[in-house]
């Protein structure tokens, strides 16, 4: 290994090396190599520029030549393996062909085009493809709400173990109607709300990523998380119903809740999807099944993060500024309709998608 010199680190590459004296080589395999190494070096330069994301440095000729150079270098490698015993050259060719392969068959899609395909049909399709898990997750969430309600209505002490203390400030069993009503009211101004929204987003996004990641353990912990989160909701719902505020609470919650709970539902469903396909891979190998479902679930999760951003904005601003029960219900309801229409009725196949 040669020590890197300063000029090697900072200087431009010198392409001025004299053309190799092919006839001087004593070996046939070295003559083969010297005749072709110009092409290899050119491919090396192109690949290096692509790896460093400096595509502007490449001329049109270079870009056009890349596939051909890749193929000739790949065939050089095939020939060298059969005829040459120069291990340094073979190692160089293997590494060069590998690097070129990554560039020629790499993810040359770009973020903007990926996002276009994602929003323009990819997300909706992935969500439609996991519909069985969505139904299961929905059932579990409804069961969670029911469980929370029933537990607390049977024994009020459950409320304190189901609802984390940070939410429970004034909203405890026995609180008066006025106190509960107060907790549902709007803030006076928009001050402080954007910070609140950002915090909510980060918190919810972390929870849903966790719910998804736990799906890897065959989905069971995901179900447990969904059940527990929903039991909290059920307990609070019971509390407000005892003071005849069910509708007000539902409206207060629905502003962002339809989006947020939908997102958590999808995150749980995505986790379940991975877990289910690993537990029951069908005709595929477990590895193939896990990879296929994991990629699909990843698209759903990108959508979940997007929905949570929307939910945080709704929660931080709309809910705190809009106080009327009907208006709140209208916002929440229309968000739900919009999401459902986008996911289930928008059936465009993004250009360039497989199948």
């Amino acid at each position: 290994m040669k020590a890197p010199t300063l000029s090697g680190l900072f200087g431009r590459k010198q392409d001025a090396s004299p053309p190799p004296d092919i006839e001087a080589a004593a070996l046939r395999s070295d003559r083969f190599r010297l005749a072709r190494e110009g092409d290899w070096q050119r491919l090396d330069t192109i690949v290096t520029a692509m790896e460093e994301n400096r595509l502007r440095r490449l001329s049109d000729d270079d870009v056009l030549a890349l596939p051909a150079l890749y193929r000739t270098t790949a065939s050089s490698l095939a020939v060298a393996r059969e005829t040459s015993l120069d291990s340094a050259t073979i190692a160089y060719l293997e590494s060069l062909v590998q690097r070129a392969w990554f560039q020629v068959y790499g993810p040359r899609q770009g973020f903007v085009r990926w996002l276009g395909g994602f929003l323009g049909g990819g997300l909706s399709r992935a969500i439609r493809e996991i519909w069985p898990e969505i139904l299961v997750a929905l059932a579990v969430m409804v069961a969670g709400v029911a469980t929370g309600w029933l537990l607390v209505s049977g024994d009020q002490d459950w409320y304190f173990s189901l609802v984390p203390s940070q939410f429970a400030d004034t909203r405890v069993p026995g609180a008066s109607r006025a106190v509960l009503m107060e907790s549902l009211s709007t803030a006076d101004s928009a001050g402080g709300l954007s910070g609140f929204a950002a915090y909510l987003f980060q918190n919810n996004a972390s929870v849903s990523i966790l719910a998804f990641a736990l799906g890897f353990a065959f989905g069971i912990p995901t179900l447990m998380i969904l059940l527990k989160e929903m039991a909290t909701l059920g307990a609070m719902l019971w509390l407000f119903s005892t003071r005849g505020l069910t509708l007000d609470f539902a409206a207060w919650l629905s502003v962002h809740g339809t989006t947020e709970l939908f997102a958590i539902l999808l995150a749980g469903a995505a986790g379940l999807h991975v877990g289910r396909s690993m537990a029951f891979p069908g005709g595929r190998s477990i590895m193939a099944a896990a990879a296929e479902s994991g990629r699909r679930a990843a698209i759903v999760m990108a959508g979940v993060v997007m929905m949570l951003i929307v939910a945080a904005l709704l929660e931080g601003f709309a809910r705190q500024l809009v106080g009327d029960t009907l208006e709140r219900l209208a916002i929440g309801g229309s968000m739900l309709v919009i999401w459902c229409a986008y996911f289930f009725a928008f059936r465009r196949v993004p250009p360039g998608a497989e199948r």
């Binding site: 190799p20 004296d21 001087a24 080589a25 004593a26 070996l27 046939r28 395999s29 070295d30 190599r33 010297l34 190494e37 290899w40 790896e51 193929r71 790949a74 059969e82 005829t83 015993l85 120069d86 340094a88 050259t89 190692a91 160089y92 590494s95 060069l96 062909v97 590998q98 690097r99 392969w101 990554f102 068959y105 790499g106 993810p107 973020f111 001050g191 954007s194 910070g195 987003f201 980060q202 996004a205 972390s206 990523i209 966790l210 990641a213 890897f216 353990a217 991975v274 190998s285 590895m287 193939a288 896990a290 990879a291 994991g294 990629r295 699909r296 679930a297 990843a298 999760m301 990108a302």
Partner: protein, 302 residues
């Protein structure tokens, strides 16, 4: 030493078929390299985000005293929360989606993320979905086990915490239980981490010095007979190639002496390199010639 090292590499060697039908060798990244890369990445991330945090605090704190600075301060807080989320969740994704398929840490240790080949041995592209999927599992693979392991000795959580710790350790130690060193994220994303060597093209050895003609030092031209060249095989040839490329005087003397002993010459001194170059070129010519006729000699014992 070298044997153990090459056995270690051979165990990690895999073959992937390109669409051209060429079998490309890949070496699965070693677990130690990946841990090293992970530590480097988290160091970079931690230093970067903390530096930005301090810079923001530096700007933000004086705002509090100012009249009407609340709005600006809050805006800064929002910016910080979003920055923190994006940095910690987006760092790995953004870099692994780049043309090198590697975070800075991975790049430093020389590994990259690639799509795992299917059962037939051919691999596809590394897609954005795969990169997202493999990075979403970091929480349960790294942070949850870490937190639980740190908490476990206090015994605060009781048996439930112990069970959870054991449970999460399964994810954390997942790479140690499969031969491709896949972590849970790799499994569900259909990716793996392979070595990404960047070798320079070495000089052609048969163009120069004793390989080509007379030695520059003594003017002697070394010629070896069939008998003398038939002792060694490809393994010895490659060892000799390495010695010539490393160009260490002691090593060359030792090899020179060993070869002379084997072929029955009396070793001279001072012209080892030319001798070895000539021997290398002629041995390679002979072995490559045999190769064209389908006869291969792996080493001196065959």
């Amino acid at each position: 030493m070298r044997d153990r090292q090459s056995a270690f590499i051979a165990r990690r060697q895999r073959t992937v078929l390109t669409p051209e039908g060429l079998a490309l060798p890949f070496i699965v990244g070693s677990r130690s390299a990946r841990i090293g890369a992970l530590i480097l990445d988290y160091l970079i991330l931690l230093v970067g985000t903390v530096a930005v945090t301090i810079a923001m605090a530096y700007i933000g704190l004086p705002l509090r005293e100012m009249e009407g600075g609340d709005g600006a301060g809050e805006f800064l807080a929002v910016l910080w929360t979003i920055f923190w989320f994006i940095a910690w969740n987006g760092y790995f994704m953004a870099f692994e989606l780049g043309p090198r398929g590697a975070t800075p840490g991975k790049r430093i240790v020389g590994i990259r993320v690639a799509a795992r080949p299917n059962a037939a041995g051919s691999a596809g592209r590394l897609t954005p979905e795969a990169v997202i999927a493999r990075n979403l599992l970091r929480d349960i693979e790294l942070f949850m086990p870490l937190i639980l392991v740190l908490m476990a000795p206090s015994g605060a959580g009781g048996p439930a915490a112990m069970a959870a710790t054991a449970w999460f350790l399964i994810f954390a130690l997942f790479p140690f239980f499969n031969r491709d060193a896949l972590r849970a994220g790799d499994l569900i994303a259909g990716t793996w981490v392979v070595e990404a060597p960047r070798t320079k093209l070495a000089r052609a050895l048969s163009v120069e010095g004793g390989a080509h003609g007379a030695s520059e030092v003594t003017g002697a031209t070394y010629r070896f007979g069939d008998e003398e060249l038939s002792i060694y095989g490809e393994y010895e040839l490659q060892t000799l190639e390495r010695v010539l490329r490393d160009n260490q005087a002691e090593a060359m003397e030792a090899v020179h002496a060993a070869i002379c002993r084997k072929i029955g010459w009396t070793p001279g001194a001072g012209d080892e390199r030319a001798f070895l170059e000539a021997f290398y070129a002629q041995l390679r010519a002979r072995l490559e010639n045999d190769m064209r006729f389908g006869r291969r000699k792996a080493d001196k014992f065959s």
